[in-house]
Amino acid sequence: MSDVSLMVNGKRVSGAAEDRTLLVHFLRENLGLTGTHVGCDTSQCGACVVHVDGKAVKSCTMLAVQASGSTVLTIEGLANGADLHPVQAAFKEHHGLQCGFCTPGMIMTATDMIGRHPEGLDEATVRAELDGNICRCTGYHNIVKAILAASTTMKGSKGKAKQAA
């Protein structure tokens, strides 16, 4: 057992966990943040993507204790109260989801991707960057559309989007 201490969505949290506890299980079971999903459990599908110290990572492939001391952002931390984050709003607007299971990971990957490409995104880059996120419903078209739209919106209101991300 180890003490795991994290800053999650702006709140300091801590708790004891077995060393083998994966970050995703710590988030879901200890903290009740069930927005982060476990899809494949083999590091391929990306449903579990969260940001650790500002970088998108697969939380099913990291121990909670490895992350101890880090800042974590999950899907629950994106919106500002009732105001959706621009990426969430774009997924809603462009119907970037059907069953919704992959969506938290898609959105966390998208916000990371947009942050790393302040110059803007094109379709080929978005598709290549989605390598690690699998969706079995949409065929990806509307996800790509949503990310491109959000990228444009966030470029237009850089300061605000940066704060929200």
Binding site: E18, K55, V57, D131
Partner: protein, 265 residues
């Protein structure tokens, strides 16, 4: 995953002590080790986390000499501005590993210590004639990579960095498995002061290797056209559900041609 005890090393010396605990394993990015532990293919009693040791991180370029700390992530290698100038082929290679989330965690030291026969970095380090620096000694790349998941690292020995002289020309071309994103065939070509070297990953029965046939043809003329008609023997190449040995042999020549064209571009 079986129960495990986690230790966070504060320094290389600290890690060297901690790794003597029980049946401990070194943990860097964890992109192979943690999935292996989840499926119980690996079951270390202890994990020694190297990822917070500052002295193991970062890319240094001084003149033609490039040194990359063992826990430098693929993302950091792919985006390092100095490296992109000194050896753009290696930065490009790093950008082709896994997916963005994997590149944020996975490290060069972890990749080479694991020596997966389809990993990308071993091909680069072998072709670049790199030196692998550990907490005990320096090892030439051609002595380091021993076979499938096998290296010349001794029990508890820790890779701290890799270093090489930037080549005049180099490129990496990868025919990747679209699902796993590992190389079905990856070819790294480098032309430096010691001549041309060509290393192949993803294809060898015994892991990464240098292709003598392609090196001989390119030594005479470093051009894609020099590889017309060059046959790579299928002997000692892998056959699996993705590709036969014959198919891989052909792919090696094709990827080598593309790599030479890219290196000359």
């Amino acid at each position: 995953m079986y129960a495990v005890n986690y230790h966070r090393a504060a320094s290389v010396a600290d890690a060297a002590k901690l790794v003597k605990t029980g049946d401990a394993k070194l943990l860097s990015g964890g992109m192979t080790l943690i999935p292996a532990m989840k499926t119980r293919l690996a079951a270390p009693s202890d994990l020694v986390d190297l990822s917070r040791i500052a002295e193991l991180q970062g890319v240094k370029v001084s003149g033609k000499t490039v040194t990359i700390g063992a826990t430098t992530t693929h993302h950091a290698v792919a985006n390092d501005e100095k490296l992109k100038k000194a050896c753009p082929a290696l930065a490009h290679l790093a950008s082709l590993i896994g997916d963005p989330a994997v590149r944020h965690k996975g490290t060069i030291g972890g990749s080479i210590a694991n020596n997966d026969p389809a990993a990308d970095y071993p091909a680069a380090l072998l072709a670049l004639g790199a030196t692998i620096i550990t907490n005990k000694r320096e090892i030439d790349a051609d002595k380091f990579f021993k076979g499938l998941f096998e290296t010349s690292l001794k029990e508890g020995e820790i890779v701290t960095a890799v270093t090489f002289t930037a080549p005049a020309k180099a490129a990496y071309e990868k025919f990747r498995n679209p699902a796993s994103r590992y190389a079905i065939v990856g070819v790294f070509v480098a032309k430096g002061k010691d001549g041309v070297s060509v290393a192949v990953t993803g294809a060898g029965d015994d892991g990464v290797f240098r292709s003598k046939e392609i090196e001989a043809a390119l030594a005479k003329n470093f051009a894609a056209s020099a590889l017309e008609g060059v046959k790579v023997p299928a002997k000692n190449l892998m056959t699996d559900i993705h590709a036969s040995a014959d198919y891989r042999a052909n792919l090696i020549a094709v990827m080598a041609k593309r790599a030479v064209a890219a290196a000359n571009a």
